[in-house]
């Protein structure tokens, strides 16, 4: 009886691992296929039957990809956009988040509802007027077109507000008794305490800047201004059908994000679970 149970238990365990391993392989195949292709020579790409693992490895594709378009420039542009957007968002979110969490003022509910309502409006819906505003501001084909609309988000304000609400008031009360002003309390007590929320916000803003495509595609036109996703799209347009070079370029575009993923995956997962989802 017991042994029969045990056998059944083992059988299920084996089955569970089997299913998980098959799923994991399915998830990884695109990455392996990308890498495999990136190391092929042009004749190997179109070989039938398919060459699964190219040998010798053909490193030239990475050189061709890197030199055919200004990938370095794309990286620098993307980094600039994500850093400035993150810093801006951190500042505006700390300020507004603190006011919503700790201060009392007229119209608080209305303003907070307005902040939440920004989360309900998909960017795709306001794409056209946003473009017209950027055009009026003379920022078409400028990196500021990507930064400005992203300097404050409902997501950031909400995240920081929630975080400040969790901090016990005793700290501030003690500081008030000691004669600290509200501004000092905010800058010297609350902001340092909010570091985890700030890190989450920075991480997600970076990811968003890195992966965003539709908006940069619309506002950027010259290669020297492009961010990585538009740049990659522009790059593949110059190499139609040359999949070994395209895969090398795709790989180049994925490296930084994969590194970031391995460094921050715990925080990423926690951020997503905490509702840190930017649609």
């Amino acid at each position: 009886m017991i042994t029969e149970r045990r056998v059944r238990f083992h059988a299920t365990t084996v089955l569970v691992y089997l299913v998980l391993i098959v799923a994991a392989i399915a998830m990884l195949v695109p990455f392996l296929w990308m890498l495999g292709t990136a190391f092929k020579s042009s004749s190997q790409v179109d070989a039938i039957p398919i060459i699964w693992i190219p040998w010798p490895l053909h490193f030239g594709n990475f050189v061709s990809a890197w030199t055919s378009v200004p990938f370095g420039r794309f990286f620098v542009n993307t980094l600039f956009v994500s850093v400035v957007s993150s810093v801006g968002q951190i500042i505006t979110s700390i300020m507004a988040g603190y006011a919503f969490a700790r201060m009392r003022f007229r119209g608080k509910q209305v303003l907070f509802l307005l902040t939440l309502s920004t989360l309900m409006i998909p960017f795709q819906v306001i794409l056209i007027p946003t473009f017209l505003i950027i055009k009026y501001l003379g920022l078409v084909n400028s990196l500021w077109a990507l930064i400005l609309p992203n300097l404050a988000t409902g997501f950031g304000v909400f995240l920081l507000r929630q975080f400040f609400l969790q901090i016990p008031t005793e700290l501030e009360e003690a500081a008030t008794i000691d004669g600290a002003s509200r501004w000092r309390i905010m800058a010297q007590i609350m902001v340092p305490l909010a570091r985890p929320a700030v890190a989450t916000l920075a991480l997600f803003t970076f990811l968003w800047s890195w992966n965003s495509y539709l908006w940069p595609l619309i506002v950027l036109s010259s290669p020297t201004k492009m961010t990585i996703q538009v740049g990659l799209s522009y790059f593949q347009g110059a190499h139609i059908g040359e999949y070994n070079i395209i895969m090398a370029g795709s790989f180049i575009s994925l490296v930084p994000i994969i590194i970031l993923f391995f460094l921050t995956q715990r925080q990423l997962v926690e951020g997503i679970v905490a509702g840190a989802v930017k649609g």
């Binding site: 306001i126 400005l148 992966n211 395209i246």
Partner: protein, 319 residues
């Protein structure tokens, strides 16, 4: 009556404390603190949404920046446009083709990962999550190459089973399924992460008690775990549907809306009309329709949830 306290997430440990602002009167400094965010929201969200509505009643010339009021003309035009209906159908096909499979698969994988004593759960979770992080132009290019008719890995794999090469992205019947497959790959990990968190919050006292009473694994899952997981499932569904309804990158890179508009989803249609044909007013009208659809879907799901979703601490009195 067992009082089941769900495991609170660790970072919310101090959250139960009631926190109230102390000062009784309005604090002027608050407005200063709110000013930057509110100005930015106004310029980049509130003005655009109002302008979107206004634009949808206009013909807007992007070169001269002049607008002429045309009443409901744009809406009438889209109601008579076969491409518009095609894009609605394509979006529905994409959304309802990808979301249910993604969510079901993710729930299944999360339950497997949640098994006690499973070695390497973290590693599996990481592998499942990785595609979600990279799914943009690069990943779409990889999948475009995987679906290549002659040299793609997918047809090579199917070849082992004697299946002839399929022209995945270049025939109307298979282009959308191809996009859906790629989307499932990119979205499962995100849902797995959320389901895992949801599963951790299911009190183990309940499932253990049921097991002692002789319930089978299947019974425990469907009678206890699944109902308690309903809020998570609803959240995942709503987010996934909203995201799917706004797909653009994958479509633009892999099929450019083709062949013959088979994958011309609504956001791609807006992009084409507004930024390739410069029909700003018409594009705005389509965008407003998209907005209404998304709001309606969300509302329906939220209302439906009152009936079907059990929230912790709630008592049921339906008969």
């Amino acid at each position: 009556m067992v009082h089941a306290e769900p495991q609170a997430p660790s970072r919310a440990a101090g959250a139960n404390r009631v926190v109230r602002p102390k000062a009784p009167r309005s604090q002027g400094g608050a407005y200063v603190l709110l000013l930057p965010a509110m100005v930015l929201f106004t310029v980049f969200t509130f003005i655009p949404i109002v302008w979107s509505i206004i634009l949808s009643f206009e013909n807007y010339n992007i070169f001269s920046n002049t607008a002429t009021y045309v009443g409901f003309h744009n809406y009438a035009a889209l109601l008579h446009s076969a491409t518009f209906y095609q894009s609605l159908a394509a979006t529905a096909y994409y959304t309802f083709g990808s979301v249910p499979i993604t969510v079901a698969l993710a729930l299944f994988l999360a339950v497997l990962l949640n098994r006690r004593g499973l070695v390497g759960a973290k590693v599996f979770q990481m592998i499942f999550f990785l595609p979600y992080i990279v799914s943009s132009v690069g990943a779409s290019l990889v999948w475009k190459w995987m679906f290549d008719t002659n040299f793609g890995i997918i047809n090579a794999f199917l070849g082992f089973f004697g299946i002839h090469p399929i022209a995945w992205l270049t025939q109307t019947s298979t282009a959308m399924p191809a996009l859906i497959i790629m989307t499932i790959w990119g979205g499962v990990g995100f849902a797995v992460v959320l389901f895992q968190a949801g599963l951790r919050a299911v009190p183990s006292e309940l499932t253990e008690a049921a097991a002692i009473d002789g319930a089978t694994g299947n019974q425990i899952f469907w009678r206890i775990t699944f109902p308690l997981l309903a809020p998570t499932t609803l959240f995942v569904l709503v987010i996934s549907i909203i995201n799917a309804a706004q797909v653009f990158t994958t479509v633009q890179v892999m099929t450019a809306g083709g062949p013959l508009n088979a994958t011309n989803v609504i956001v791609y249609y807006i992009y084409q009309e507004a930024f390739q044909f410069f029909n700003m007013g018409y594009g705005a009208a389509v965008a407003i329709v998209l907005f209404i659809i998304i709001l309606a879907l969300t509302a329906v799901m939220m209302l439906g949830s009152r009936r079907f979703v059990y929230y912790e601490g709630e008592t049921r009195d339906d008969h």
